[in-house]
């Protein structure tokens, strides 16, 4: 009893059509919070669930003695990112846990390990199951890491803890957060990832069609917004087009001098190859402009530092 942590912690849990598991999950979180923390709150973000999730949460919340449980009901389906923002905005804790799903494949100790790691000075500590990533996730994170300038390697995360520092920094960066993980990484504060051995295999998929659609859309948006993959792609295409143009130019001239093509063929081909090259060049410039606009709007802070160290007395 006396060894409980005195920091105020908040838990934000994403709930969407999870009536079959949310009661167990919430009870589990309530137990961990009450056993380890003197003061805590739990915020369930109910993202327009159409099943009995709400009543299941109410049932679990009845068992809470020390902690307080509240639910934010979203007006319509918002998707994970916006819904979790709504929950984190409401949270008041010194540390905020974000549970992106109601899938409890981690043992209770993992929550405390992640928390203690954050006390060591890591502003963002996440926990990932020590299993092979899904192929689509793997591909996404590979592309993301390859084309973004962030130093952090991204991976599938089950939950994470954020310090109040990082939340304050994010809120001064921008208001419309498309993809939290990228933004947390972009906060420039110390980050760590812990891997745990899953206590049970996670259900193959806890997502419904709505969530799946949302996630694939989110993947594309995130890649466009947080990496320069669009610009790099068009740049490559322009270079390829330039090479092709040069080749076609040479081919046309050779053909013009060696054989006698039909009248007008030479000019048509010359015109076509040059204008295609020009078109791609213009597109690249436009994409560069868009990229700059995005950078200016979404990454307004000019720099982001991790800490300031005083080396001399």
């Amino acid at each position: 009893m006396d060894n409980k942590e005195t920091n105020y912690v908040s838990c934000v849990i994403y709930v969407h059509n999870a009536a079959d598991r949310v009661e167990d999950f919430l009870s589990f979180i309530i137990r961990v919070m009450e056993e380890n923390f003197l003061h805590s709150e739990i915020i369930c973000v109910n993202d327009a669930s159409e099943d009995d999730s709400l009543s299941a949460m109410k049932k679990a919340a009845e068992k809470a003695v020390l902690t307080s449980v509240s639910v934010v009901n979203m007006s319509w389906f918002h998707g994970l990112e916006l819904a979790m923002n709504a929950g984190t905005d409401l949270a008041i804790g010194d540390f905020v846990f974000e549970f992106d799903s109601t899938c409890a494949d981690f043992p209770p100790e993992t929550i405390m390990e992640v928390y203690r790691r954050s006390l060591e000075g890591y502003d963002i500590v996440s926990a990932s199951p020590d299993v092979k990533e899904k192929f689509s996730s793997h591909l996404f994170y590979r592309i993301f890491d390859r084309y973004s300038t962030l130093s952090t390697r991204m991976t599938t995360e089950r939950f994470r803890v954020l310090s109040r520092r990082v939340i304050n920094r994010i809120s001064s960066m921008n208001k419309s957060v498309l993809y939290r993980k990228a933004l947390y990484a972009a906060s420039g504060l110390k980050t760590d990832n812990l891997r745990y051995r899953p206590v049970r295999s996670a259900a193959s998929s806890t997502m419904d069609a709505n969530e799946k659609n949302y996630r694939s859309g989110l993947a594309v948006d995130s890649l466009i917004l947080f990496t320069n993959v669009g610009y790099r792609f068009s740049m490559t295409m322009t270079l390829v087009m330039m090479l092709i143009s040069v080749f076609v130019l040479a081919y046309t001239l050779i053909t013009y001098f060696t054989s006698h093509p039909v009248e007008g063929w030479t000019t048509t081909i010359l015109f076509l190859s040059v204008s295609f090259f020009g078109l791609f060049a213009i597109l690249t410039i436009i994409i560069k402009y868009l990229q700059l606009l995005i950078d200016m709007i979404f990454k307004r802070r000019r720099y982001s530092f991790e800490s300031i160290e005083k080396l001399t007395k």
Partner: protein
């Protein structure tokens, strides 16, 4: 059992009760005030945010705002000695979860004709937390000074005003020409069961209003009850002469508590610890009160052994999440009181004064108001 006769009987020695007593005895009437606590001003009059409202609190009800703005000037004039005017009252609108944003709040103040100067939110709040901060003209009153003043004003009329403390009303009888109240004095030297009659009764028992109505056999007010906690804090220098209210949503207030040198801290979600939607107040803590408190007779929550544990950990974190770190404060003590809220006022957040007349000729008057400066609403009833 002797039956004493009065012109008026007033139930409750809070501001509304003592104001009425003074009002009547100045007109030469013979008045009895019955109070269940051992002293006046022991409950809601003292245990609240002590705000002298000027309407800022009701951005979704212009009529309530206009009315409280009107009484504000009068209250500050009549009771200036107990009103703390020497601090800056800041109202702010939270960037997230507020029902009102900075622009709407400004427009509302302009429409209600109450002063409101826009400030830079970054001066008080952490980056991104608030989208508007306004310097307003709102004061807080000191209940202890107000109480002593009223008692002093009443002292020349000792022959016409009787205030009986520790008096529990047991029975209210309706007669064709008035009412008979039987009550019992508790404590040492008590005269036991007594009775008094008057052609006019004022029920100013606030949270006990329905309990009195029940004894008299009249229909109750449509109210719900909230068991509220007001936290008193000591502050650092930055906050000493500043009051901050982040409004219209699940937010908080921290502002000078009258002239005590302390600040009161409250939050919308945690100041009410428990609520009750019954006609009479039914609370789980009543079982633990050792028989002191029941749905028929509320005990003083601040003195009760069953009072809830303080919500200071939550409220202090909420305030610190918003306010810049230099606005420092420390826990001093918690006060608890029962607050009745008219259920019809939940949607538009208005808190009108409700006056209801029952009995022959409407001479059993019950009053319920959530604000201190609408006490003047009583004048028309007492004339």
């Amino acid at each position: 059992m002797a039956l004493e006769r009065f012109d008026k009987i007033i139930i409750g020695a809070g501001l509304y009760g003592l104001y009425s007593a003074l009002f009547c005895c100045k007109r030469g009437q013979h008045v009895l005030v019955l109070e269940c606590d051992p002293a006046p001003f022991e409950r809601a009059t003292t245990i609240n945010q002590a705000r002298v409202h000027q309407g800022y609190h009701y951005p979704r009800s212009l009529s309530t705002a206009l009315k409280s703005a009107g009484y504000f000037e009068r209250f500050c004039r009549d009771y200036h000695f107990c009103v703390n005017q020497s601090f800056e009252q800041i109202y702010a609108t939270s960037a997230a979860y507020s029902w009102t944003d900075g622009k709407q709040f400004k427009a509302f103040c302009d429409a209600a004709g109450i002063p409101c100067t826009e400030l830079h939110p970054g001066r008080y709040f952490k980056p991104g937390m608030c989208d508007g901060a306004f310097l307003t003209r709102e004061y807080t009153y000191d209940a202890a000074i107000l109480r002593d003043h009223l008692l002093e004003d009443l002292s020349p009329y000792r022959s016409s005003v009787t205030i009986l403390y520790n008096s529990m009303i047991r029975e209210i009888q309706s007669l064709p020409d008035g009412f008979v109240l039987s009550f019992e004095e508790a404590g040492p030297g008590s005269a036991g069961k007594r009775a008094a009659s008057a052609p006019f009764v004022l029920n100013a028992a606030y949270a006990g209003v329905n309990q009195v109505l029940r004894l008299a056999g009249f229909p109750p007010f449509p109210i719900k009850y909230e068991l509220c906690e007001i936290i008193l804090c000591e502050t650092g220098d930055a906050l000493r002469s500043t009051g901050i209210t982040v409004m219209d949503g699940p937010f908080f207030s921290i502002m000078p508590y009258g002239k005590t040198g302390l600040h009161s801290l409250t939050s919308v979600t945690r100041t009410p610890h428990e609520d009750c939607h019954e006609t009479l107040p039914v609370f789980s803590c009543q079982n633990r009160s050792g028989g002191r408190c029941s749905p028929e007779s509320l005990y003083n929550c601040s003195l009760c052994p069953a009072k809830p544990e303080s919500a200071y950990p939550y409220m202090s974190h909420l305030a610190r999440k918003y306010m810049r770190d230099e606005y420092d404060f420390r826990y001093k003590e918690s006060l608890y009181s029962m607050k009745p809220i008219l259920t019809s006022s939940e949607i538009d957040d208005s808190r009108p004064t409700v006056i209801r007349r029952n009995g022959p000729g409407g001479s059993f008057v019950s009053v319920l108001s959530g604000k201190i400066n609408t006490v003047y609403d009583l004048d028309e009833v007492l004339e």
